[in-house]
Symmetry: none
Subunit: 533 residues, 2 copies
């Protein structure tokens, strides 16, 4: 029997960005969109064009991605025509493959929040969807508060949904905006909707306020909905959105779903899930949830004794799916075999071929473990991992040496009585046999140090002229008795290539310097700079 | 119609303690048991008597609590009699109201892990349960891997459960040990069990490996099970146990449960839930999950002008239950998405009463907008917002002034040829008319500056002695033409209170200094430090 198609819609960059403390830059959004595209999501809802400068810029240019980039906005303002609604016009002007509108479907909200009649609201939905369709874009309607609306006035909520469908909406998305609906309610209500609108035009968008975000999404699919909206790691306001990081592997791996449905996510793509989840956490500058289903560091961790020996006999004794299917690894706390296959896969992906029995692989596994135990995060800093691996497996030139550095920051009143802060750094290096001393200023100590370091690297200078520090993230880790600082540096070159490096030290300047050095060395190696003569 | 009774069983102290890194002392266990008793749990599974000194001591004395203190252990060892099994004897010797035994019900495990016949396993269950009943204690059987067992060999799994029930077990508890079963499967399988064993003798114990721990527990109740086992905050190995902190309010507050069932938890007890959840986090020395359903700090947080003004009109517009029902509070966030109504609500919540027409409110709204446009993030730094607001609305003492500071970081080889990095800072301040110059060292420039700043604040020193820098986060914002650095500082005092402050500058040291100053000033104001004489 042919399997039915499920559509997956990510709103990390829009609804996820509503989260307390989340504040994506344009660079963040582009990088996350790239991860989502690679993972195989059908739609990426990227923001609100017209609402803020970042989203407007994001939607100002065309992109070459497989996923449908979707703009989000409101149905037209009551009492105005489409042509006279600047917000709606900004939406229509966006470079987007699809436009998702949010409209009201709960009579109480139409009355209390909008203050218009139920008929006016229906007309607004109809005109808005028709305008999107007329613009040549795919239209979606997010039915805000659909479930609360259905419980209060089912015929009206259904009429709103049906109006959008009749007006040409590709997807009518049922939203549990307040997140309070329970799975059995979702299942019954979606079943009623699907009796009125074909299920392959019905989507589900839920929040996690009762800890049932995943279950509610699955209940809707069982009842006939064929699009699921959610976010990576379940980020989102209040208690988060439906967690796609949990939903996707369930759909692809578990009986009752894997045998009934197909998605755009291949097994290979699924195995990038853990990585995508961790990258998002790094962008948000937050520690990954160790206990996250499927992708958490502890999701396949087994304690010593009975569990470990049973798992070694047969993993199915204590594992419901194989960890490698989602790109995660088993952790047996008595064994170090967990990391080896992972490291081998990583070496292969950066083009370093090595026999799996090579003893250096075992030493590399140990080294990565030791360094991660003190705070390094190679998952998020692949350039630093690559340097570490190349130094163990091949001969990497020592392009230059640093003898010493000094950084000074001073805040004082200048001769005019103005408060000024000055940052200055000096670096003493040996390059190609010559001693070089450089001084740099900057808008802060790290910037000054970076400027001094890159001022004169002799024959290597031309290789790093186009190197740019794009982002810089700092975390304080309090793993052991002493707090250490982890610095992640994102660099970019003139060709638009990006890479991440990591440094760890109790001293933020040392940690930053280490990450900066890794970044320069990575660039020199990748561009084939020659060894010193 | 009379409501049916649901029994609630907490295993935070036993299954929750299996979590990697969790290590409860006897005092921890007693304190958590007290919280659970106060909350109204029917059973508290407190540990494995005989397995370790803490649990043995815990079960060595009688306690005066309402909850049934339950000891956990294995069914008797295969090939031995009860009287000849020291582990089982330790269990029987425990001062416990009930004894919960774990037994195997998956034929594959009986074969692979125990290596005995299916009949021997049934006999072991029967004898073990009978021995507990004969000792005068209430007996429970945790049916390990019941759902996987049922899928592999339903008649055998059912026979195991039935054997325990026939032998006198008060509760036969169906465990999803690997956590991979989905809600629709749980519902169907529990329904079949309840056709064989009365539902008021059937319990459910699930893990969260597919993010359906809560949904699976509720599905079992819908199918007829009448005891739910889980843990506070969902702690537990791998992805955790069923989260009682989410399940309990759903049972008590939501339609379909609140109207059908009764538990031992009164509305007054329910309002201690948020507190109990936070206390457990404190015992585990971990930051509470901001996004936890019902009890998280963000669970009732509203961002954005439209949401905030609707919530103020009627909280039901964006809240599925009242926050105070679980002892939580509503949070109206200050952010560039919100306007005047947001700020007014925020002022009210920090106890600053001001007329909504006061022109200073308009100026504060503008100021917050201007500062957020250059990078400040007041929604994540409420203490900095409070300072800003108080400075505009009341007279805030200028406790001290900073004239200048200087920070130096130097990396060099010391006399022994070792590479060392030294950080040193000097701060020149005026406190209470006196000029004070302090010097501090640290493991980095910010730490050195913090140490220098807090070395001698004259009459204010005693107010800040217990102030501790807990976390420190840095972001580079590339919004405009120049990159600026945002620093968020989390502080804590001796009473466990935490607050966040923010600083923004192109210079990380300046930004950090600003956030540190805000933190100190916030503490001085909150603790009522007097203005300088």
């Amino acid at each position: 029997m042919a399997r039915e198609t499920l559509s997956l819609y990510d709103t990390t960059l829009r609804d996820g960005a509503q989260t307390h403390g989340v504040d994506f830059s344009l660079e963040d959004k582009l990088l996350i969109a790239e991860q989502l595209d690679r993972l195989g999501l059908d739609y990426v809802e990227a923001g609100y064009p017209g609402a803020n400068p970042i989203d407007t810029e994001l939607f100002s240019k065309d992109r070459e991605v497989g996923t449908k980039v979707t703009a989000f906005g409101m149905t037209k303002r009551p009492g105005r025509s489409i042509s006279n609604d600047p917000g709606f016009q900004a939406l229509l002007a966006a470079e987007a493959d699809a436009i998702c509108l949010v409209g009201k479907t709960w009579d109480f909200h139409v009355d209390v929040a909008l203050g218009i009649t139920l008929e006016e609201n229906l007309a607004g939905i109809k005109e808005s969807v028709e305008a999107v369709v007329a613009s040549g874009r795919e239209a979606l309607l997010d039915c805000e508060h659909f479930f609360d609306g259905y419980k209060a006035n089912a015929p009206y909520a259904l009429e709103c949904a049906k109006t959008a469908y009749d007006a040409g909406a590709r997807w009518v998305v049922l939203c549990d905006t307040n997140g309070g609906t329970l799975p059995e309610e979702v299942e019954a209500i979606v079943a009623d909707v699907v009796a009125n609108i074909p299920g392959d035009h019905v989507g589900i968008h839920v929040h996690n306020d009762t800890d049932n975000g995943v279950a509610n999404s699955l209940a809707a699919v069982r009842a006939g909905a064929r699009q699921i909206q959610g976010t990576l790691n379940g980020v989102g306001e209040r208690c988060g959105n439906a967690n796609l990081t949990s939903i996707i592997p369930t759909l692809l791996l578990k009986s009752g779903y894997a045998d009934r449905f197909e998605t755009n996510i291949s097994p290979e793509k699924l195995s990038t899930l853990t990585h995508a989840s961790r990258v998002l956490d790094e962008m948000l500058n937050q520690a990954p949830d160790r206990h996250a289903p499927y992708v958490g560091e502890a999701a396949f961790a087994h304690k010593g004794g009975i569990h470990v020996s049973a798992v070694k006999k047969d993993p199915r004794t204590y594992e419901h799916v194989p960890p490698e299917s989602v790109g995660n690894v088993r952790k047996l706390l008595v064994s170090n075999q967990g990391g080896r296959s992972n490291i081998l896969a990583q070496l292969e992906s950066i083009g370093l071929t090595v026999s799996k029995d090579d003893p250096r692989v075992g030493r590399l596994v140990e080294l990565v473990k030791e360094r991660e135990a003190v705070g390094y995060a190679y998952e998020a800093a692949e350039a630093s991992f690559e340097l570490l691996a190349r130094r163990m497996l091949e001969t990497v030139p020592q392009f230059f040496d640093i003898d010493s550095f000094r950084v000074m920051v001073e805040r004082r009143h200048n001769a005019l009585g103005e408060l000024v802060t000055i940052s200055e750094a000096t670096v003493k290096a040996r390059v190609d046999g010559n001693s070089v001393m450089s001084v740099g200023e900057g808008n802060g100590p790290i910037n000054a140090l970076d400027n001094a370091l890159r001022k004169d690297l002799g024959p290597y200078q031309s290789y790093i002229d186009d190197l740019k520090l794009v982002d810089y993230k700092v975390r304080i880790l309090t793993g052991g008795t002493d707090a250490v600082t982890r610095v992640l540096v994102e660099s970019r070159d003139g060709e638009g290539r990006r890479w991440f490096t990591v440094g760890v030290s109790p001293n933020i300047v040392d940690a930053s310097f280490e990450a900066l050095l890794d970044s320069i060395n990575y660039k020199l190696i990748r561009d084939g700079a020659p060894a010193p003569s």
